[in-house]
Amino acid sequence: MMNLTGKKCLIDTNILVAYINQSHSLHLTAKKLFQRIVKKEFKPVLSSQNLLELTAVLVHAFKISKQEAVKDVELFANDPLFEIIYPNVNVLNRFFDFMKGEVSIHTVDKFLISTALGNGVNIIITADKQFMKVKEIKTILLI
């Protein structure tokens, strides 16, 4: 993986899911990434969208109670290692620009990228190769 020292990197939801699910094919890869996070090798960032999606996965796919799911998600949200970013007006304008553009990725992926870029984050660590179509953000693919 490229040298990420001191750089802000958005951790995608699929990586969070791989980290908490020991049966996930990328679990060990995600564990290694989190070891790097604990060593502060780079600055991990989560967007409110990632936290929303993780909550939904826990409740609807993992069939965990809402109370338990929130406790799990709060572990990420409240950990001082992670910076949490949110959509703002700047993000919305970027999203509208993305929607007018030609890049063929899912609408919600465009919103996630807009949230990252609008908050000064231009690297995403993900298991989804679709992001590689977007030239505005550097995609680090964990496969």
């Binding site: 699910n21 020991q22 996930h24 950990d79 919600v108």
Partner: protein
């Protein structure tokens, strides 16, 4: 050690005297003894963080597609549910 900050603290005279004696016998400056004491009572941030993430690492074992996350499929299914009667 990170950057040092100079500050002023107020100590009871007898505690200061004990520190002064300890400083002499342990051959350490009083400021170092105070730093060591503070580090003992404050939570070690690194360990706390490790424990926090460890709580959730591999907590679940969900096999197959339900144990994965594909954003486009996830939202498309959600949309279908919302659009259906």
């Amino acid at each position: 050690m990170s950057q040092l900050i100079r500050t002023t603290i107020t100590l009871p005279a007898d505690l200061y005297e004990q520190l002064r004696v300890a400083s002499f016998y342990q051959r350490k400056p009083i400021s170092q003894l105070i730093r060591e004491g503070a580090e003992k009572i404050l939570p070690q941030k690194k360990n706390v963080v490790n424990l926090t993430l460890k709580k959730i690492e591999g907590k679940y074992s969900i096999v197959g597609k339900k144990g994965q996350f594909n954003r486009s499929q996830f939202y498309d299914e959600l949309n279908r549910e919302k659009m259906s009667d």
